[in-house]
Subunit: 343 residues, 3 copies
């Protein structure tokens, strides 16, 4: 339970109403109950406030609601995220190496680290303060994990890879698997040992069952603040910039470099050795086959400007009709030509 | 070994031949041996029966075969599935918490539950009767699992998620990972805590490495009898109806609602916040960008009626030729116009 | 540290320079230091050699570099792969069943096998010599694994599946999950027990989180030397030939047969029951809906000859313009026809 006044201060909102209200949790606007707080991100839906039973509502400037205490701020969605985090009960895990975990004697763990049963922590591993390893996490030899990270169950980090601070990894993700590299020897393939690593910078989040391959010889890197969804493939030697959003089932092929603040929609594929600028947006299922300049908004495969793709893909179902028209035009035109010759 | 008579009764088939035959197992029609049973789903392949060495054959009405005992029934494929299940040896696992498993003292497990080594069962977990946890399964605090479920090795179910009865989860699937939700704060992203859950209803099957994200604030739900293949992504707040088939590598974006008895082919993508009706079929690799009415059969991306897609995609390789034709037509028509002006 | 002479002999290269040089590791051409070896695969980049600080360079015939010792050979990339492997420090793991592993007493393990903590080895499992199981690997009952395999952390191999020799499996891959098979019973689906297995032949590599389903009744097989990337789906009863390359996020549907020495680009989808010949190449994101003859190079979905696809997909953005042109042509032609009638 937190007083509304404290929440207003947390998010820098103007408080209209009862600042001593005790708020227990955040709830959706349709199901919120007394003692709860909800939010209205878009003034167009202000009509919903009339029937809302929440005690308090986070609203953008200009929205009024007689029956509720209000937190007025420019970005209600952001305020909602922060208040939700504030109202979460503190994580309740034992700050210790629990029975059934295997930690190599040469590993060094900071204060407040929690290692659940079934975890394996290899030789010379370093873990910062307050990091939580859920059950079944495997850290190979030489791995470094920063402070306040959360590695969910059955995450694997292979040898010598490094995670920064406040990195969150969802269950069953893999960091540092071998890159997919082979040298042809006639019709057979010889494995090229992948001796590089993966570096994950601060505040990155990695989705469930996502795979990030170690570099062939140097580094695969995910920049600060980048958020990666589930089942994403990031190949060896890829460099991703900061604050980039990579939605589920995207695949990024080897040695591609991606800038800051990009967004890749779900199931997008990006070819190898491409250079993608900053602030690039690729709509879902896009296929990128080469370099992309800063600020482009692309769709389709091969990717093209989003507006062009919209028009072309709306025309696509009419293709058989267009073809028939063209064949008829050819016929008619030939008839006309003959007619003119005769005259 | 089961008598043919018992199998006939199990599937409601008419038995022609020796009802005392002992049947040991089911085998493919080409490799079946004496003592085995096979099936013929399609009368068109009845010629195969001549060389078949099986003792008994499940056939549709109207098929005869002098040298075999027959089980005649309307749906031989269904009968085959049921007989195959009947002939499986009973699952042979110790009905106990095995050494090397970690079960929190506050967890409550029903009779006949098997917990293999390397499993982790958190606080206040509830598991129904006869459920099997294979090695390395992790159930976070507050998880509820029903009766007669099978959770294969290294499956992770995160906090407070609920599974009904007879749910089968293939290895390394993840249920209840955080939904992919962030609020922009300038160019950075702030994580929105995902405080909802996942509910899996009775008789659902979930494929290997499939990920089902917990809701932001309420529930992600998979309806009774729905079958999900491997490597599928189901985002937060998605609601899937009953008896729906979701083939491998499909991705369903957040808050989408899907009806009953749909089929989504492999690698299909479905956008967020869409409403998909009942009995909708999307062919493999379809891309659904909005709402779909009941009973539609769609293909392509963006999805269109399957017949339209077939024609359009067959015409697609001819696009360069069509373009050349159009350019030539324009030229010829201009020549004709000039010719006419001159006359 | 290895003498250059030994490396030359290893790869059958002609040595120009100091054969007693001690080489410590392989490094990229731009960052190599004294004591290291690098390689030049393409003579076009020979200008880079001038500034290169490596002690030795692997080069194709005809390339000279005054300041370096040279290993001259026909395939520098292959030589690089072999030298890199030679210079890797030997794998340093205890050749024993480590504390915290669960190995059934009926399992038989060869000499030099390493079983890490958190592994589970079921009844009647057979493991050859020198195989390494990393932490959390689960081998169900009856699994057979050959010699010198490496199974990375949290890999799952389900009952009775077989791996040959020198098979490498990246973390969290799943071998032998149930195939996706159901018989309709009205609107509901009845599971068809999947009683077949998976066979992985020698020298196969399987990527992280890749899933290979067991056959319905016989065998799903991956042929010798085939390399499979991360997050790939291989359905039940698929047969893949030898030395085939399957890039990340490819999906292959049930009962499809694939020949030798094929290459499937990332995110490609292959329909069920297809026959794909030998030496077939499908570019990234291809969609294969039927049989493919030997030696084809295809792109697009549905897949077509790569050159046709290049032209058609380059024309695609012009589709709205083509349609407008056709409509205008129809109008103009009608005008001309009227004009001619009047004359």
């Amino acid at each position: 339970m937190v007083q509304l006044k404290e929440l207003a201060e947390l998010v820098g909102a103007r408080l209209i109403g009862d600042e001593t209200l005790s708020i227990s949790r955040v709830a959706p606007i349709d199901s919120a109950a007394p003692g709860e707080i909800t939010f209205l991100a878009n003034p167009r839906y202000a009509a919903k406030l009339a029937g809302c039973k929440a005690s308090a509502i986070i609203v953008p400037p200009g929205v009024e609601s007689a029956g509720h205490s209000l937190l007025v701020c420019a970005n209600p969605y952001l305020a909602f995220a922060r208040i939700l985090a504030r109202l979460q009960p503190p994580v309740d895990v034992p700050r210790e190496i629990m029975a059934g975990a295997q930690v190599h004697p040469s590993a060094r763990l900071g204060e407040g680290v929690c290692v659940h049963p079934g975890c394996y922590v290899g030789r010379e591993v370093r873990i910062g303060r307050d990091t939580i390893l859920h059950p079944g996490v495997v850290l190979y030899d030489g791995v470094k994990v920063g402070d306040a990270c959360v590695l969910h169950a059955n995450v694997v980090v292979r040898e010598d890879c490094r995670l920064g601070d406040r990195v969150i990894v969802q269950p069953n993700a893999v960091i540092g698997s071998d890159g997919f590299g082979y040298a042809p020897d006639g019709r057979r393939y010889v494995k090229i040992p992948q001796v590089g690593i993966v570096e994950i910078d601060d505040d990155v989040e990695i989705g469930a069952a996502t795979c990030i391959d170690r570099a062939a010889m140097s580094v695969t890197r995910i920049g600060r603040g980048t958020k990666i969804d589930n089942l994403v493939q990031i190949a060896h030697n890829v460099i991703v910039g900061e604050d980039t959003i990579i939605v589920s089932q995207v695949g990024i092929a080897g040695s591609t470099r991606i800038g800051d603040h990009c967004t890749f929609g779900g199931q997008t594929g990006i070819a190898g050795h491409a250079k993608i600028g900053n602030d690039v947006t690729i709509a879902a299922r896009g296929g990128v086959t080469g370099d992309i300049a800063d600020g482009q908004v692309l769709s389709g495969a091969p990717a093209m400007p989003h507006k062009d793709w919209l028009k072309a893909s709306m025309t696509f179902p009419k293709l058989p009709e267009i073809r028939r028209d063209v064949q008829q035009l050819k016929k008619k035109l030939a008839e006309l030509e003959n007619l003119l010759k005769e005259k």
